[in-house]
Structures are given as C-alpha cells and as structure tokens.
C-alpha cells in the first residue's frame, strides 16, 4: 500500500466519521501503527472536526447537566478500581539529588494517606449499609412477631370458635382456619394451604346464614400463615371459600367453592 494514496483515498474521514466497516477499520488501525503520517492525518482531521463542532456549539437545556450528574452518580460502581498511572520517559529521577527522595517519600506518603482515607470511607459506607440492612430485618421480624402474638390472642380467647375449612372435591388440598369471635363478631382467617391464583382473581370468604351467603371479604393465597381480619358477622352456620374476580363478587360462584367448614364444634 502506498500510504500517501491511502491517506488521500478518503479513508481517514471515513474512519473518523464512523462510516468505515469492520474490515476497513481493522486495516486502518494496523496501518496507523506502521505509518506515523497516517496517524497524524487522522489526528489533524479529528482536530479540525472538533474545532468546527466547538465553533458551532449550541447550549443544551440548562437542567440537563444536573440530570446527567445524578444519573452517573447512580451508575458509579461502589468499589472504585484503584488506578495508579505511571508516565513514561517524561520525568526521570536523578539519583544524586536528595530532594528526589523527598519527592518520592511525599508521593508515597500521599498515596498512603489517600489509600487510608479511601479505605476508611468505604468501610464506613459498608457499615452504614449493613446497619440499614439489619434494621430492615428487625422491622420485618417485628411485624411477623406482632402477627403471631395477634394470632395467639385470638386462638386463646374462649369466645372464639375455630372452624377448620376442609377442601372440597374441586380443591381437595386446600385448607384454612377461620376464627370467629361470637362476642365481638370479629372474623379472622389463617391460610394453611391455598393454591396461588392468577393476579386477576382472589379468594372470597362467605358466612352461610340460614342457607344464604354473606360476603366476608377477599384475601390472597400469598398471605400464607398470617392472620387476616375479615368482615364481622353475628351469625354463621358455616363458612365457605370461593374463587372470585379481584375485589370479590356480591354472590358466590358455588362451582368454584374451594373449602367449607361448619361452626358447630366449639373448642
């Protein structure tokens, strides 16, 4: 390849503007290493293009910089890779000059300080984040404990009737307990095992009074082993669970009955 012909073929401009294909780029980069004049031509064109663009700059929206700075802060890795740069050739240490050692010593000292500052900073950061993690765990344990205490209270109350909801033929493995406090008329449900439903559906609890259903509210299978307060009822001969659309229906879809239990046995 005659390098002057190559340079004046338009390849430099094609490369810089990003119009060269992979093969052309590879060739250009290889020849640039071998021919300094090609590298120089590339840099000259880049410089001309940059100057032209700087001369024709238009101010972007004023608030954009802040948005971008916020964006990049969110995109910065927590652990900074440590980078130590060495300039080759330019600065040479003179062996006989004692101030050289002072310079070297202070650079080492400075690097050391920098390292410790960074080290303690990142340690403090780690401690801070593990602290908030523990706090979050504590909060969730607290709320689980409160639920268990609430469940215990209901279970121990002598006025409370426990109704074992047994799965129907449609859903033989479904099971849940209904706690009905006949004094306060409160109704609670504890899901033992109910299959997960699609998001557009929910379970609905009904009280059967003289053969007529009364809506006691909806619940999800995801509330596993947690006590849920349902709507109150003064009377109930039996309880039933059906699958309904999200939010519940005014009357039960009986063919979708999942579980049922009578209120007769008192504990």
């Amino acid at each position: 390849v005659n390098i002057q012909d190559y340079i004046s073929s338009g390849i430099v401009e094609k490369y810089v503007l990003g119009l060269a294909d992979a093969k052309e780029r590879e060739e250009f980069e290889r020849l640039s290493v071998q021919h300094p004049e090609l590298d120089r031509a590339r840099k000259e064109f880049e410089w001309a293009l940059e100057q032209h663009a700087l001369d024709n700059a238009l101010p972007p929206p004023a608030d954009l910089k802040q948005q971008i700075m916020d964006d990049i802060r969110a995109n910065t890795p927590v652990h900074k890779p440590k980078l130590i740069t060495m300039e080759n050739g330019k600065t040479t240490m003179r062996r006989n000059n004692p101030s050289g050692f002072l310079v070297a010593a202070s650079v080492i000292l400075l690097l050391g300080c920098g390292y410790f500052i960074y080290h303690f900073y990142s340690e403090a950061k780690t401690l801070k984040s593990s602290n908030s993690e523990l706090q979050a765990k504590l909060n969730s344990s607290d709320s689980i404990l409160n639920q268990i205490v609430a469940e215990q209270k209901v279970v121990k109350d002598s006025n409370v009737t426990v109704v074992n909801m047994v799965g129907t033929q449609v859903a033989p493995r479904s099971s849940a307990n209904v706690y009905w406090d006949s004094a306060s008329t409160n109704v609670y449900i504890v899901v033992r095992n109910m299959p997960k439903l699609p998001t557009e559906q929910q379970y609905q609890l009904w009280a059967l009074i003289d053969g007529k259903p009364k809506d006691l509210g909806v619940f999800d299978a995801t509330d596993d082993k947690v006590i849920i307060k349902m709507k109150n009822t003064q009377k109930a001969d039996a309880f039933a669970i059906t699958i309904e659309k999200k939010g519940g229906n005014p009357s039960p879809t009986l063919e979708k009955m999942q579980a049922m239990g009578n209120t007769k046995q008192k504990l």
């Binding site: 119009l19 940059e50 910065t76």
Partner: protein
C-alpha cells in the same frame, strides 16, 4: 475543583476511567454544546436531541473502559456515539412514517432539505447539491449504499464514488 484547567485527552480518559466526577463535569462543560449542536442538526427536535445528548454522556461514563486513546480522540468517540444514537432515532421515525407511502423522489427531496443548516451541515452547503444529497442520506439519514442506489436509480459504485468525493472535500472545507 479544577473547572477551568484544560485536560489532555489522555489525562481526561484516565480520570474518567477512575470514575472522577470533576473530570466528567469538565467533559460535559467542554463538549456538551458541540455535541448538542451536532445532534440537533440531525434531529431538528430539541426534546429528542436532549435525550440523545443525555444518553451519550451516560453511556460515555458507563463504557469509558472501552475507550482507546490510541485509536481516536475522546470527542471523536463521543461524536460517533451521538451519530449512532441519532441515526437510530432517524430510522425509527422513518419506519413509523413508512405506513404512509412516500415516493422515493419525495423522500430524497425531504432529506436534503435542511431549513437552518447548522454545525457540520453549514460546510456541506459548499458542496454541489447532488453530492451533498448522497452524503446527507448516508451520514445523517443512515441509509446504506444499496438503498441509495435504488432510490436514485444509479449504481452502487457511483454512490460510493460520490461519497468518496465528499469525504475528500470535507478535509479542505474544514480547514
């Protein structure tokens, strides 16, 4: 801290690779206007142009480890990103509009019609209209050689020759 000092490309790249916020802030102050002018000439829509500009800087921050100072300047690297992202926007707008058929002749006329030539486009105005139209289609509109050949009913070789002609004039025009 060092907002008004001038960094060399090498220094700037090293600082950016070390995730230096000040260096990035300087990069933005120094190049955002030039890049915004460049993007705006391709998209002529300030909202889209701001979005692309934001993406260029965020991508530059994320992908700085891939930047090779031996191959190109930081500005070239970022202009290429801006160009690439803008071409994507131009193409997606084009494919959205493609439901309403436009005759090839019309679309060429539209594409060469720049109301307010800014930035790069100002120097292109010194080219002869036919060459400029070809360059506009390939660089600003992201068409490939075959598509342009079909549109203008000329051979791909002619398209390539015209592109080359423009590329060669570009160096003189920028001087």
């Amino acid at each position: 801290v060092q907002t008004d000092s001038k960094y060399s490309d090498k220094e700037l790249a090293l600082l950016l690779k070390d995730h230096d916020n000040h260096a990035f802030s300087w990069l933005y102050d120094h190049y955002s206007g030039a890049l915004y002018g460049f993007i705006l000439q391709m998209l002529s829509n300030t909202e889209m142009a701001s979005e692309v500009l934001q993406k260029v800087f965020v991508d530059a921050w994320r992908n700085i480890q891939q930047y090779d100072a031996g191959k190109e300047s930081l500005f070239t690297w970022m202009v290429k990103m801006a160009h690439h992202l803008s071409v994507e926007v131009v193409r997606s707008v084009r494919s959205k509009n493609s439901t309403e058929p436009v005759s090839p002749k019309e679309s060429i006329e539209n594409s060469t019609h720049l109301l307010n030539p800014i930035g790069f486009a100002t120097i292109l105005h010194k080219l002869n209209p036919e060459d400029r139209a070809i360059f506009d289609l390939v660089y600003f509109k992201g068409y490939n050689t075959e598509e342009i050949a079909a549109m203008k009913s000329i051979s791909t070789v002619t398209v390539q020759e015209r592109i080359q002609k423009v590329l060669l004039r570009l160096r003189e025009l920028l001087k």
